[in-house]
């Protein structure tokens, strides 16, 4: 099982490969959502958040905040890849998942 730190490294690498400029540990404060994002590209408005008990992040995003993020992602305003912690066992699996997530983001933004 990957640790949060290892997982974040994998995601940083994949997002960079796909042309995103992701900054680490960025305070995200928009609307009713407030948390420290593990990775966030403020220009592309794409990021990732690793939810594990390791960093105590589970308390950072409550159900209401998740619902708001879900709605905003539905409208294409922003995109967060949410690692619902402890479920990814290898770096390869995580990279595979991140690439498919970013494919979907591109599709939703109408990329050719």
């Amino acid at each position: 099982m990957l640790t949060e730190s290892q997982g974040c490294q994998v995601l940083q690498r994949v997002f960079a490969e796909r042309g995103y400029h992701v900054q680490a540990d960025v305070p995200f404060r928009e609307g009713g959502v407030s948390f420290d994002a593990d990775g966030w590209d403020p220009v592309a408005r794409v990021g990732f958040e690793y939810l594990t008990s390791e960093a105590g992040d589970r308390e950072d995003l409550d159900a209401a905040e998740m619902a708001e993020l879900d709605a905003r992602m539905g409208r294409g305003e922003l995109f967060f890849f949410i690692m619902d912690g402890g479920l990814v066992s290898t770096a390869e699996d995580l990279a595979w998942a991140a690439h498919h997530f970013l494919d979907e983001v591109a599709r939703r933004r109408g990329a050719p």
């Binding site: 879900d70 992602m73 890849f81 949410i82 690692m83 619902d84 990814v88 595979w96 998942a97 997530f101």
Partner: protein, 428 residues
């Protein structure tokens, strides 16, 4: 007198630790030997009891039972009581046999057994492939989670931006590639449906198998109950006799030694047998007494000296003491050899133990006399005042030695010192 160097003091302390370690080993060996011996003596005690109750109740003859009941003042072993209990027991066992034989399942047992075995085999033949298939799918990575999350169904609620969504996707595809075609399906929803159907069918079969196995088990229990009852009827006389003897033993065990002797002293065979029981019990008890006094207590003392010497040795080894010189009297007193005391105590333990073990003339004991088992077993040569019973008896019977010498003279005239060999070398 010249002072002792620190180096010399260290040597003496180390020598003492070596001696103490050797003594600890010797005491540990004695401990193990004692445990073996006590097991052997416990066996001897069982034999002595068996002999006593066999002498008291030699058979189920009415005269034997009534004789024992009279001698022991134990109405429970009177022939009328024993026979009544035996009759009731016989009726109970016969009723049990009759009850089983009247049961239709017993009458049809061979047919029923064959039928149940056949049905079990047939059902197993269907169940096993299902069991294998279900287990195979459940052993696939993430498969159980896929089923529980509703993956492949309209109820699947994991959002597309969650990592687990992709995880399910990846492992869902994997399991379809590996397992779907052999089940004649092409996608996960169909594979899931096939799995759930197999699992439900299997659960129903497992239930049916359990019912058949229970039925089979209760049939065997019925057959066994009859066999047990028949065996009980066949060996009833032996069990009745054993039961009567157990009652006698329980009755006597609850009495003080003097009361046991008072009941049985008028009959030579009983008297000899009860003395043997008491003597072997005393042997067991005194072996424990000397073990506590000369093995257990010394082990604790030796351990205390070891700890003290180790503390002192570590002080002597401190750099600041390297050049110091010590008072020779103090050093030789502190680190003196205890070997002679250890050897003496060990000899005393071994000699006394051997004498107690060798003692076998239980008939020399007089229940109301002035000598204790301890005196007889040790031939009056070992001070047993560390045993409260011995100390008390000797304190209240100052003339016990005279009685002892008289007893020994009588034994010598009879050519018997009460031991199987002269094992006591020096117990003073």
């Amino acid at each position: 007198m010249s002072q002792v160097s620190n180096q010399r003091a260290i040597q003496l302390a180390e020598q003492q630790l070596g001696e103490l370690a050797e003594e600890k080993r010797r005491l540990a060996a004695a401990e193990a030997e004692h445990a073996d011996q006590q097991r052997a003596v416990a066996g001897e005690l069982e034999e002595a009891w068996h002999h006593l109750v066999s002498v008291l109740v030699p058979s189920l003859e009415a005269a034997a039972l009534d004789g024992a009941a009279g001698v022991l003042h134990l109405p429970g072993v009177r022939s009328v009581e024993v026979e009544a209990r035996a009759r009731a027991e016989k009726q109970r066992l016969e009723a049990q046999v009759a009850g089983v034989e009247a049961d239709p399942r017993f009458a049809q047992r061979d047919v029923k057994r064959a039928e149940l075995d056949l049905r079990l085999r047939e059902l197993e033949d269907y169940a096993q492939p299902l069991r294998d298939g279900v287990r195979e799918l459940e052993a696939e990575p993430v498969f159980t989670e896929l089923v529980e999350s509703g993956y492949g169904t309209p109820g699947y609620a994991v959002r597309w931006y969650m990592a687990s969504y992709y995880r399910h996707w990846k492992y869902g595809d994997q399991v379809v590639d590996k397992q779907a075609s052999r089940r004649g399906v092409v996608d996960f929803p169909a594979l899931r449906r096939a799995y759930l159907e197999e699992r439900d069918t299997l659960a129903g079969m497992e239930q049916s198998l359990d019912v058949l196995r229970q039925e089979r088990g209760s049939l065997e229990a019925l057959v066994r109950a009859r066999e047990d009852a028949l065996a009980g009827l066949a060996n009833q006389p032996q069990r009745t006799l054993a039961h009567a003897r157990e009652r006698v033993r329980a009755h006597l065990s609850a009495l003080e030694a003097a009361d046991q002797a008072a009941l049985l002293s008028h009959h030579p065979a009983y008297s000899v047998a009860v003395k043997r029981v008491q003597g072997v019990a005393a042997k067991q008890s005194h072996l424990e007494d000397i073990h506590q006094e000369w093995v257990v207590k010394p082990r604790e003392q030796v351990q205390q000296v070891v700890q003290k010497t180790q503390r002192e040795l570590s002080k002597l080894r401190r750099p600041k003491n390297a050049g110091r010189r010590w008072d020779p009297g103090e050093v030789s007193q502190r680190f003196r050899s205890r070997q002679p005391q250890f050897d003496k105590r060990h000899r005393r333990y071994q000699d006394t133990r051997a004498r107690i073990l060798a003692f076998n003339n239980y008939d020399r004991y007089e229940p109301l006399g002035h000598l204790l088992w301890w005196d007889l077993m040790t031939d009056g040569r070992v001070d047993g005042d560390f045993i409260p019973e011995v100390r008390h008896h000797h304190a209240h019977n100052p003339g016990w030695r005279d009685h002892f010498h008289h007893d020994r003279a009588v034994a010598a005239l009879a050519g018997d010192d009460g031991h199987s060999g002269d094992v006591l070398t020096d117990a003073s």
